[in-house]
């Protein structure tokens, strides 16, 4: 698929390479290794043309200061979206009580529909889609408000199905407008739905799905798998699937490695904890290995973070009560140095293997 965003993503990657090239060229010139003037002129002219073309066609950052402004705009967009969503929710809550039922229902159903049309309007007028992202999150929040309030008005016995509807809606908007924030919102809702549904398979009440971390493992695995497959993902989407999925699994395993009594497994809790501790280390190691193999820094970061987290929680568990505090921290320090040496060796090995 050659979507506009995918082209702008590729354009931004090329612009970053051009800027890096120019920086390195300036350094080489200072060191007395400048290429012939005519060649430098050709490169500069060609690159200037490219930059002007992409700046006219896409919303790209052609310099470091623009990148920082872009980051600022993203943060502002996120804060704005969250604040407006909260405002709309609380505004409705403040005034709805005395309204007649038909008016309540009309407002609740109409608001997300109008907001959805607002997303389309904003997306057509502004190619950066910062405003579209804000309105999209408002539309999502309005849909959450819609079903929550209808449930309250009609005294509906709650079920997990609302999460499915919210998740599907967020994903549809995320894919329509290539909005990563909506993708995360959608994945979290689907995570809730799948985990609650798995929880009911054992006969438990759906709202208690959080009492068994294993309920999250299947959903986490599904979401991670989608991010690992070679599908035609939109830019940045695959990494988010992997991140959300892996975080879910790692956190569930972390909880189970400490509180074996909340497991479904019909084993003594000590055995459950040891099993999940070993599984956690293995999974973290596999994640790091696969991340190195595919060149996915997100995977390496998540795997490394949880490997270290698992390791340090084990150390606290084994030694915190039994050792004097100074000795505990001394040992932890030595282990950190040992890890550093191992990782440095791996690093040089990798450098030699891939020049």
């Amino acid at each position: 698929m050659s979507s506009e965003m995918e082209d702008s993503y590729q354009a931004q990657a090329r612009i970053d390479r051009i800027n890096a090239f120019r920086t390195e060229l300036a350094q080489l010139t200072q060191e007395g290794l400048a290429p012939p003037e005519t060649l430098r002129g050709q490169w500069a002219g060609h690159h200037d043309q490219l930059l002007a073309h992409w700046a006219a066609q896409y919303e790209v950052d052609t310099s470091g200061s623009q990148k920082q402004l872009t980051l600022g705009m993203r943060i502002a967009s996120l804060l704005g979206a969250l604040a407006l969503s909260a405002a709309i929710y609380l505004f409705f809550l403040h005034f709805w009580g005395g309204l007649a039922l038909p008016l309540q229902v009309t407002l609740l159903v109409g608001l997300p529909l109008v907001a959805m049309l607002g997303v389309e309007w904003a997306a057509r007028r502004e190619r950066t889609r910062y405003f579209a992202a804000i309105v999209a999150l408002v539309a999502f929040a309005a849909f959450v408000l819609d079903l929550s309030m209808l449930g309250r008005i009609f005294n509906v016995i709650p079920s997990q199905n609302a999460f499915l509807a919210w998740g599907a809606f967020a994903l549809l908007l995320a894919y329509a407008y290539e909005l990563r924030l909506l993708l995360v919102a959608g994945l979290l809702c689907l995570l809730g739905y799948l985990s609650a549904t798995v929880g009911t398979w054992g006969g438990g009440y759906w709202l208690s799905f959080g009492e068994r971390p294993e309920n999250f493992l299947l959903a986490g695995a599904l979401i991670t798998t989608i991010g690992l497959l070679n599908l035609r993902h939109l830019p940045g989407f695959a990494a988010l699937y992997r991140l959300v999925g892996l975080l879910t699994i790692f956190i569930a395993v972390l909880v189970l490695s400490h509180w074996g009594r909340v497991s479904y497994l019909p084993l003594p809790k000590d055995q459950v904890e040891i099993g999940y501790q070993l599984f956690g280390f293995l999974l973290a190691g596999l994640t790091i290995w696969y991340g190195i193999r595919r060149g996915w820094s997100g995977l390496i970061n998540v795997g490394s973070t949880f490997f270290i987290l698992y390791l340090y929680t084990r150390l606290v568990d084994w030694w915190w009560d039994g050792l004097p505090r100074y000795l505990f921290f001394l040992l932890v320090g030595f282990i950190a140095i040992l890890l550093l040496l191992v990782l440095r060796r791996l690093h040089s090995y990798q450098r030699r293997a891939t020049p």
Binding site: L90, L93, H94, F95, W96, G97, G98, L99, A100, L101, Q104, V105, L108, V109, P112, L113, M116, E120, F143, D146, L147, L150, G151, R152, I153, F154, N155, V156, I157, P158, A165, A168, F169, L172, L173, Y175, A176, Y177, G199, G202, G203, G204, Y205, W206, L207, S208, E211, R212, G260, R261, V262, P268, K269
Partner: protein, 271 residues
């Protein structure tokens, strides 16, 4: 592609809302599953004051005795609980709550028995104080509690529980005396301090009724808002209930309020 996704999102919105509204309409189709008159004792406005950010008003269903003696292993097993005493009483075991159905009786034999139990407590307290084992305040506290139970406590008591609502309704057909409601139920292992009783036993508890609160609709809003704002010196524990609400339960066991009748509450109860 974007257009198709947008249309799909719109259809999802419309379809989901249509489903919810259709479900509500189905629930409220005649005839109702149950009809009952409940006062502020059973449908209270809550104890923590009104949330100033929320103009909606809800009343909460109050239940007396969420740990009835009869809710033992024989009632837990049909609900799907694993009733192996040794396993459940292992302090490492943690049974998950389950969805079930509970029968609530309104001011019936169970309520009379509950009242008699409190009267017996007062008599016991009288003997204890007469023997000099406790101070007279102990008897006064018991008397005051009896008064609160008699005049203020919810007259809804659970009398049965099971996995099948239709089956429970067939056993308790009086739709103006008995409510069948969905509930969140949990199993516990408890130690029994009574003589000649086994040291450990399994007991069931009603953790939450579903739904736990009922929304006040627009046509009752003005009346109920006066009570919700609570600026008339009303004392929840000392004063009589201020209103009576008509409640209907539908085919999906979801309730709705149909009418409110103000009650005279300012007359103080005789000591």
């Amino acid at each position: 592609m974007r257009r198709h996704l947008l249309i799909a999102a719109g259809l999802l919105l419309v379809a989901t809302n249509a489903l919810v509204l259709a479900g509500a309409a189905y629930n409220r189709a005649e005839p109702p599953e149950a009809t009952m008159q409940l006062t502020e004792r059973e449908l209270s406005l809550g104890w923590v004051g009104r949330d100033q950010e929320d103009s909606g008003i809800d009343v909460e269903l109050e239940l007396t005795d969420c740990r009835p003696d009869w809710f033992d292993a024989s009632k837990l097993q049909p609900l799907g609980f694993d009733v192996q005493l040794e396993k459940v009483c292992d302090h490492h075991y943690d049974a998950l709550p389950r969805l079930g159905y509970v029968v609530l009786e309104m001011e019936g034999p169970a309520w009379e028995a509950w009242l008699q139990k409190q009267v017996a407590e007062v008599e016991k307290a009288r003997e204890v104080v007469a023997r000099g084992d406790r101070e007279p305040e102990y008897l006064e506290d018991k008397r005051e509690y009896l008064r609160q139970v008699r005049d203020r406590q919810s007259r809804l008591l659970p009398v049965d529980v099971g996995p099948d609502a239709a089956q429970l309704r067939s056993r308790y057909p009086d739709r103006q005396r008995y409510l069948v409601m969905a509930a969140k139920l949990r199993m516990y292992c408890t130690a029994d301090a009574q003589e000649n009783a086994p040291p450990l036993r399994l007991e069931g508890r009603i953790i939450a009724l579903l739904p736990e609160s009922l929304h006040v609709p627009a046509h009752l809003y003005a009346t109920m808002e006066r009570y919700a704002n609570s600026n008339d010196g009303y004392n929840h524990w000392a004063d009589k209930p201020r209103y009576q609400l008509s409640v209907q339960y539908g085919r999906r066991l979801e309730p709705w309020l149909t009418a409110v009748t103000p009650l005279e509450w300012t007359e103080k109860v005789a000591e």
